[in-house]
Each structure stands twice: as C-alpha cells, then as structure tokens.
Symmetry: C2
Subunit: 239 residues, 2 copies
Amino acid sequence: MAESVRLSWKNVRDAIHERILDSTYGPGDKLPKDARLAEELGCARTTVQRAMRDLSDSGIVERRRKGGTHVRLDPVTRATLDIPITRREVEQNDAVYGYQLVKKVSAKIPPSIAANFELSTPTTMLHIEALHLADQRPYIYEDRWVSEHTVPEIADVDLSTESANEWLVRNRPYSRCDLRFFAIKASEYHAKLLDTSPNEALLVMERTTWIGKNPITTVKAVSTPGYQLLTQIQGSAGP
Amino acid sequence: MAESVRLSWKNVRDAIHERILDSTYGPGDKLPKDARLAEELGCARTTVQRAMRDLSDSGIVERRRKGGTHVRLDPVTRATLDIPITRREVEQNDAVYGYQLVKKVSAKIPPSIAANFELSTPTTMLHIEALHLADQRPYIYEDRWVSEHTVPEIADVDLSTESANEWLVRNRPYSRCDLRFFAIKASEYHAKLLDTSPNEALLVMERTTWIGKNPITTVKAVSTPGYQLLTQIQGSAGP
DNA sequence: AAGTGGTCTAGACCACTGA
DNA sequence: CAGTGGTCTAGACCACTTG
C-alpha cells in the first residue's frame, strides 16, 4: 500500500468526508487527531489541517483545541449570499439603473429602529428614503437611517445624485453587520412607490451595521414583486 | 523599523485591508505579488497567502494565477446563512416540534418543477406535502418532489413519522444545491394549512439538489407570517 | 498540566493563464 | 512561455480548553 500518489488537501477532505458519510464516524463522534490522520493517510499534518478547515467551514465537523474534532450532530445547509450594491445588481441584469431620492430629513428614531441598533436611548438620525430603478421602473425601495454622529460626512454627500447605499459601502467599513430577510404585505405607500398593488407580497432585506460599538446605518430594502435572492452551493460529495 | 513582533496572518490581512480602505490600492488596482508583500511586511509568503485567502473569501479582492491580485471593483456584502433542519430550528427556539404528513403521491412533475431541475423531459416523482409544527402551531409548510429514480430508498421510509427533510439531509449527500428566497401571497390552501389568512405575505425558501447530474429533490419551504431569516457578519475593520 | 488544534517558516514544486 | 498564485512538506512553537 504505497502512497505513491501525491495527496492534495481535497483528496484528504474527501477521504475524511467519505468516512463520515459511510458512518465510520457518525454524528457526534470524535475523529482521530490531525497528526494521527496525517500518518494514516500519508500526508503532512498541515494538509490535514487544510482539509479540516474546509469541512469545518462547510459545517460538517466542529473543531476545538484540546477538545478535538467532532462530526456535527445536526447537519446544516450552509450557503453564502452575495449582496451587491443595488446599482451593480441592476446593471448585471442588463438594465439601465436609475435612482430617485424620495425623502431626507433628520428625526428622532422610532423604537423599532433603536431596537435594530440595540440602543435604549432614542437619538436623532438622518432618515433617507430612496427608490432604485431598473429600466425606468421601480426596482427596490430603500428606507434608511444613518447616524449623523458616527458618520458626520453624510451631511456633505449629495444624496439626490448618489445613493446612500453606494456611498456608505464605498466609504464606511463596518465591524459588524446584522442581516434579516422577511416578507411583508405592500402598504398603500409601498404600492404607490413601487408601482404595484397593496397586499402584494414583498421580500425585504434589512441590514444594520456598526463600527465598533457605534451605529452606522440600518436599512430596509423593499423589493418589487417577483424578486428572488439566489445562491448555489457546491457540495463536496459525489463523483 | 525592526519587525520585532511576530505577525499573524490576521495582522497581515488587516494591514493589506487598511491599504485598500485608505485607497493606497483603489478599486480595480493590482496589488503587489505575494512574495513582494511578504518581504515588505516581514513574514513568510505562506502567511500572506493565508491573509489573501481571507480577503478573497470576504469578496474584497480577486486573485488569479498569473493575473495577480486585484481589489474588487464592486464591493459586495457577503453573508453566510445556516439553514438547519426544521426540527432543530424549532427546538432551538425552545418549542416542541411536531410533524404531519399531508400528502404523498407519485405524479408527473409540472413544468415549473422540471425547470427547477433543468430537465426538459417530464418524469414522475414522489410528491410530498408536510407540515412542521412548533408548540402545536403550524410553523413551516413543505412542498416537495423527490426523484424516485435517484433515491429509490425513499419508498421504504415511513414519511408519516419522519420528515423527508430530515431523512434526506441525513442520508443523501448532494453535489449541488440551488437556493432561492422570495415572498408569496398566501393562497386559500396555504392559509388553511398554516392557520393564517389568504393574502398574508410569506417567506419561501426553495432548495433543489442534485447528485452529479441526477436530481434528488426540490422543496418549497413556506413559512408562517413573521418568519425571519437571520445572519451576522463579522467585518474585519475597526478596533 | 497536558492534549489538541492553530499558526508560522523556508523552501520546493505545481498549475493555471495572460501577454 | 513565463509570471503569479496554489499547494505540499517538515518541523517548531503557540494558545486554547478541558480533565
């Protein structure tokens, strides 16, 4: 049984994954330590590490120092979502992008927005509403609050030309971002802005960002009917 | 300027990231090659590699052999979603999980389902409808088609006890999975099953899986009103 | 305190792919 | 075909975390 072939970390990953699939190591079981597997499979420990990181990133195993590597008890489907800035998304669909500022005013944040930021004391922020268009038709309605305290420069941005979405993504890195997806019934107001009917079902993407402990922005991106979020997973199984 | 400190790959990542944020390297720019950066920062090339892989995974840079490393032109928000099996999800909310099989019958797949699988020839599959309950109340309605050809064992599974969701996740690895999220208006049928009103807005998660070229299953998981998908991103900026 | 995963290094070779 | 990223190795040391 000579290890004549050079094993890549993907080979190693698949070898280990296979043992999990065929129940050599069942859910919750502890796997041999890296060094042991390296010896067994005939490669460097670093290579086993690389393979394990992939399995760990995919949610198949869990690793802890001293605790060892265990097969995860409950399988999860782990997907990666890419959310581009809205202009790019429109352009990638070969449509002409348009943008309209609907409203821009400083105001005291309502409790629901304070809750998004995990703030107890109500403060004043810049409230921005805007419409993103694709081929002249409404595409996404954006309802946003920006902290003037954390992002004072926002006052100097001409938001009637450039969307806050774009400016913030390009200029304000964040250290934490919370995301939420849910469905809402279109209100009269939504219907009017998005050129659709009340009670239509709309997908909403809500994003809240902080830099350190300081709130940056929270935004509800309300999509038009039929909008879909897509993603794809490449599993590490099969031929 | 002695490199007295031992640089970790995170230090290196942050150093490079910072140069991107402060526009030393702007969108689209080419970064120095790994070896050059390693020299510059005073670490091994492997360490730069590790840092770069992270930046690349986060969607901040793009790397190509021979092409070099470039700052991505359009920033994206990249999020990771974990979708557990429904039973786990319910239990993690400290609710009691329940399950009901609503329908199970072999039938010719409708064109929309064939489209999900990218199939042109209509075939027969097992059509399963089921209800997942949390604390006796409807939680998610599952509308699924399973390929009896790819997964003949499904015939022997007692689907009145065990959900197809769970059995498939535990027993059928896939090599590809397509995911879609969108909103729908509840139909009369949905309303009745989910104990809500017609026209409510519902979040739908649609998943389609294959093993190699062979279809395994496609499922629409229709949630109850108020359902939210959550995730969090840890950015690599700030203190 | 000891076991196990995480990281770093230095060097070699491989594998894409753009000029 | 040559430049650049990708991977592998062997060995050392570090840093968690649990028994």
